[in-house]
């Protein structure tokens, strides 16, 4: 029995499109592995022979360009990034979760649509503009309000970063609330619960994994932000003991120093080591957020 040859033009188009889509699908994986290999290769020489782990993690003295004795302590940089991100998330949680609850549960029709658009617009402001606001508006404001010597500090960078992380947290939190089936709400209402009781006792507990993922993604956003933090934090190597201290972030250090560093030098490799650290932390945060979200879908 003879088979009819089905490989006409449409068959080829079909195959071509399928492989194109496949390429698109795996490209993300290829890129992420490529990027990881690249930063590891650039930083590895330093990790294997120069790096004193105790100095790197516990010494605040980051002095890569010293003539007599360069030191590569990243402790102050890690503390700087952690304090700014921590404050930003603390400030952002009540606003973002509040906004998400209002949009998902209470707002109606037009108000809702306008609010959603406005919140997404917040995400469209370039980070250098945020940095500019931190540098020239927030700085004098903080000096006046709190009577501190300088306004470029954790508070300034934290507020800016909270505003930058709010849209992503709100959007994901709202999705999580929307994903709670309506029959939960209907059942609670049938039992005589008020609107607020339904939200607090039924919707929020049911959406808690999604809300957690929203917060984690906000943390990831804050951790990786560079330009605004560079401009608003004061860029000062300092282990902070109050929110009015200037600090320096890991990202900002790389951005400020990489441009004029000789390729392949110890300083260059040390900056890539900071990059590996950043990459590892953001990867873990995003992976955790993803696993938490998958957790809900399965249960």
């Amino acid at each position: 029995m003879q088979h009819e040859d089905v490989r006409d033009f449409h068959w080829y188009v079909d195959k071509a499109m399928a492989s194109l889509v496949f390429l698109g699908g795996i490209s993300a994986i290829v890129f992420i592995i490529g990027i990881f290999l690249f930063i590891t290769r650039e930083g590895l020489g330093f990790i294997t022979d120069g790096l004193d782990l105790r100095e790197f993690f516990f010494d605040p003295a980051w002095r890569p360009t010293s003539d007599s004795n360069p030191t590569y302590g990243a402790f102050a940089l890690i503390a700087g990034t952690a304090s700014i991100t921590g404050l930003a998330v603390l400030l952002s949680i009540p606003f973002s979760i509040g906004a998400a609850i209002y949009i998902a549960e209470f707002a109606q029709g037009r108000t809702r649509e306008i609010l959603k658009i406005l919140i997404e617009l917040l995400a469209a402001i370039p980070s250098v503009v945020w940095g500019f606001i931190g540098l020239s508006i927030m700085n004098p404001l903080i000096i006046d309000m709190f009577d501190v010597p300088v306004g470029l500090n954790i508070l300034n960078a934290g507020v800016i970063l909270a505003l930058m992380a709010a849209p992503i947290m709100t959007t994901i939190a709202e999705d999580a609330l929307k994903a709670v089936p309506d029959r939960y709400r209907e059942a609670a209402e049938a039992l005589g619960a008020t609107r607020w009781q339904v939200t607090l006792k039924v919707v929020l507990p049911a959406a808690k994994h999604g809300l957690m993922a929203a917060v984690l993604l906000g943390v990831g956003r804050g951790f990786g932000e560079t330009m605004a933090v560079l401009m608003a934090s004061g860029h000062s190597i300092n282990v902070p003991d109050s929110i009015f201290d200037s600090v320096r972030a890991l990202t900002a250090t790389i951005a400020a120093e990489l441009g004029e560093t000789a390729v392949g030098s110890e300083h260059y490799q040390a900056l890539f080591t900071l990059g590996i650290l950043l990459f590892a932390v953001t990867f873990i945060i995003n992976l955790t957020a993803d696993l938490v979200m998958r957790g809900i879908k399965r249960s």
């Binding site: 020239s136 004098p140 300088v150 860029h235 441009g259």
Partner: protein, 294 residues
């Protein structure tokens, strides 16, 4: 743009891509000039003005920092490297190995001014005081340690403003004020440009910063600087940078490979002429010699 102009600029561009200082088919000479961001504005102005003086020579100016210019010189890809610091011995050795013999030309001076907020009563400083403000283990952390009270700065803390650690200005300030072996204090606000230093000092009563004189504004005060207690206090001006009486003034340099000749020599002579030096002065830097500009 007419077709002819387009062809000309294409020819110029292809020459840029090719060997340095080439004579193109159109008879124009292209001089590659690269380096210091401190000098880039002046170099650009010179290039524009020189185009009127000698239309047959095109000066292609790029910035990127002193280090960038010097490594291009070492690799032999530029005719003139601009630098706000001297080439290091190992850089010169490296250049010689590549058959490049760097010759240094001083084209002007830049005074590194110390800036404080306009309400700050500080009017003079010694180098030793500056070193104890900025240097590790220096001990001066409060304005009262200098015997002054700054209005609007109730915490009395000196807010140090500095530059990122790979800037030429940062390196020069360390060698001229702190001494080679001394580190900066940790905890200074390390700004990413001279203009950012001035901006922050303008808005912060407790702050002190340093940068090239060219970046000074009316909103800040520049105290005069004494070499030691016995020396006279010299204000940072174009004149005091020029006669080297101001203690923290640095020469601005152009490096060429070997003694310049031909179009290159003509250009450097013009840069050092009154016309060239007046452009320098106009941009806020000090000329090599006293000039009278119209």
């Amino acid at each position: 743009m007419s077709t002819q102009n387009l062809l000309l600029s294409l020819a110029a561009m292809s020459m840029l891509a090719g060997s340095a200082c080439g004579r193109g088919s159109s008879g124009r000479t292209v001089i590659q000039n690269k380096g210091s961001d401190t000098l880039v504005n002046v170099a650009q102005a010179w290039a524009e003005e020189y185009a009127k003086v000698d239309p047959n020579t095109v000066i292609a100016v790029t910035g990127g920092g002193s280090g960038t210019g010097i490594s291009a010189m070492i690799n032999g890809t530029v005719d003139i490297a601009n630098s706000s610091r001297k080439m290091k011995d190992e850089e010169i050795a490296l250049a010689k190995k590549n058959g490049v013999d760097p010759v240094e030309h001083i084209v002007g001076y830049d005074a590194l001014a110390v800036f404080v907020h306009k309400d700050n009563p500080l009017r003079e400083l010694t180098i030793a005081q500056l070193a104890s403000i900025y240097g590790e283990g220096g001990g001066v952390d409060k304005w009262s340690d200098l015997g002054i009270t700054v209005p609007g700065c109730s915490s009395d803390e000196i807010v140090l403003v500095s530059r990122q650690n790979n800037s030429g200005t940062y390196a020069y300030f360390r060698s001229a004020v702190l001494g080679k072996e001394v580190e900066y204090k940790l905890g200074s606000r390390d700004m990413h440009g001279s203009k950012d230093v001035v901006d922050l000092v303008e808005k912060t009563p407790c702050a002190i910063g340093y940068s090239g004189l060219a970046y000074a504004t009316d909103e800040i005060v520049m105290p005069c600087v004494k070499k030691d207690d016995a020396a006279p206090c010299i204000a940072p001006t174009i004149a005091t940078a020029s006669d080297e009486s101001y203690p923290i003034a640095r020469p601005l340099l152009m490096y060429t490979s070997g003694k310049p000749s031909g179009a290159l020599e003509k250009y450097l002579n013009w840069v050092l002429s009154d016309t060239g030096q007046c452009i320098m002065k106009d941009k806020g830097y000090a000329p090599v010699n006293a000039v009278s500009c119209g």
